[in-house]
Symmetry: C3
């Protein structure tokens, strides 16, 4: 990899890092999820794009506003370009996307895992304690979906179905245990990401849900 | 009280101040209101917890983001723990909670009053004029309920029924009059809080509402 | 104009600048649009006022929170007073407002154009690149309407109908071309505003819409 990277740099092309590639895939998958739900509500291209962007960057934006740092997408246009590519894909290949349902589920879950790790590390770097980092990691991963559902005027899906945000919390706890054990950062990140990924995949495979709160009617 | 406080400090326990106790009660009552409404919409435990937290800390979070200070709940975990206790209570005692309706109404109104005072003082401490403080006090008290209603996909209750946010405004005006008269801070706070409390209680008791805006259609 | 301005200053009255007058008109038109939609949902006066304010200042508030500057309406009470006047107008003249539909459309579009210019210039002044400024300009103009529609529990209108936010983007691109050509700032602003205005007016006149994204159903 280092050889290819050096070769490309001769031509002024920076090889994207492994994390950047995963981040791109995650952003793309999140944007696709927003755009597809928007299309079911007959949004126009612009509306669908906004919902896609909000799904992809909304969680991180709220995190950054709370951490009082510049929202991450304002310093690099890749996230908006990536959402634009997602819109193009839905416009051109909408018929074939349904068949790719499982692929998108995997991408979406990889994105969720990475966003959780990124959100947690950024919060810890700002000097906040672990419990704030777990909340911010969960928000980075899951809040975009809440904004998406508010925009399409539905009750947020993650409040009623599926282990989604809880997977982030589980990963966050794993992150904390690794830190407590003094594990190296790169391993901590990997363990956290794997926990989020596995928690979500296993929950969907074995239909594990959180209990529904009994209403008073 | 000072004796108990000194005694407890020997064991490393800080006696919570009077304000902290009221803040805890207010947070609890706000979280309960969010969780109960979420339960009526069949949210799972996690979703209900998020709605409870958002109801309790959402207003103050927006206030702090606008004042450009760190959101208050990020510096003290008590607010999230308190919302967790509220969730536990609803899970375990949901049958009996309906009977406590009046108790929660009182707690909720105490919370509203305290949140208004806290929000106003924090805004004034940041150097803003009174009219900004009144808006921020009202937002601290009432915006959580708006976020709650957006999450459960209902038209915000406070926009259509009851004197709720208006009670905060009345308290805010009383705060301003006290400041103008040069009254001591502790009395100013008490008067403001009492005005919020009384305005809401009297409005509910005598069915006082704001006029409905006539639609055109 | 300078003569009148000097004369008024003798009495401590500052002549509002041309931009301030347009800003006032735009804020008023935006607030009216929020209050009228709130009235159709039977909001009370307070709720309608909040929706009006949110429509008028919501976009700029999110912009300022992302730029990490104090929300603009917290430094000058004119925006809230202006929204209050809009509420008064709707309360008193609601019957006659329907006939003024075209007038409001023009005011609303003038407001949209000005808000876009103001939002873009503020973002550039903060040192951000053009593409961030276009997004922030669009957000300043169009995000208030999204918040309004979330509050009244409808799917945001601008995601489904009309060229609205796209007009801001077109104006933003014109702004960028002027900058690239080295045109003077005042002309750049005028061209940007005119493009927003014309794009929206022509789109409505000739029923130009963005394509609807085909749903998968």
């Amino acid at each position: 990899m280092s050889f290819i990277s050096d070769f490309l740099e001769n031509f002024g092309i920076n090889m994207p890092s492994f994390v950047q590639i995963i981040e791109f895939i995650g952003t793309f998958a999140f944007a696709i999820s927003g755009i597809r739900l928007a299309s079911a509500k007959k949004f126009d291209w612009f509306g669908a794009y906004v919902v896609g962007v909000a799904t992809a960057v909304g969680g991180g934006t709220f995190r950054d506003m709370m951490l009082d740092v510049t929202p991450f997408w304002m310093t690099d246009s890749i996230y908006l370009i990536c959402s634009g590519l997602a819109l193009l894909c839905v416009i051109m290949f909408s018929k074939y996307l349904i068949r790719l349902h499982n692929t998108f589920f995997i991408f979406d879950t990889i994105g969720l895992a990475l966003f959780t790790v990124v959100g947690m590390q950024k919060t810890l770097d700002c000097g906040y304690p672990l419990w704030v980092a777990i909340i911010m990691g969960t928000m980075t991963g899951a809040a975009g979906g809440v904004i998406r559902d508010v925009f399409i005027n539905e009750i947020p899906l993650i409040f009623r179905k599926e282990i989604y945000a809880m997977a982030c919390v589980i990963g966050g706890i794993a992150f904390g245990i690794c830190m407590w054990l003094g594990v190296e950062q790169v391993i901590t990140h990997t363990v956290c990401g794997m926990c989020v990924f596995l928690a979500r995949v296993l929950a969907v495979k074995y239909h594990i849900c959180l209990p529904i709160l009994k209403g008073e009617s």
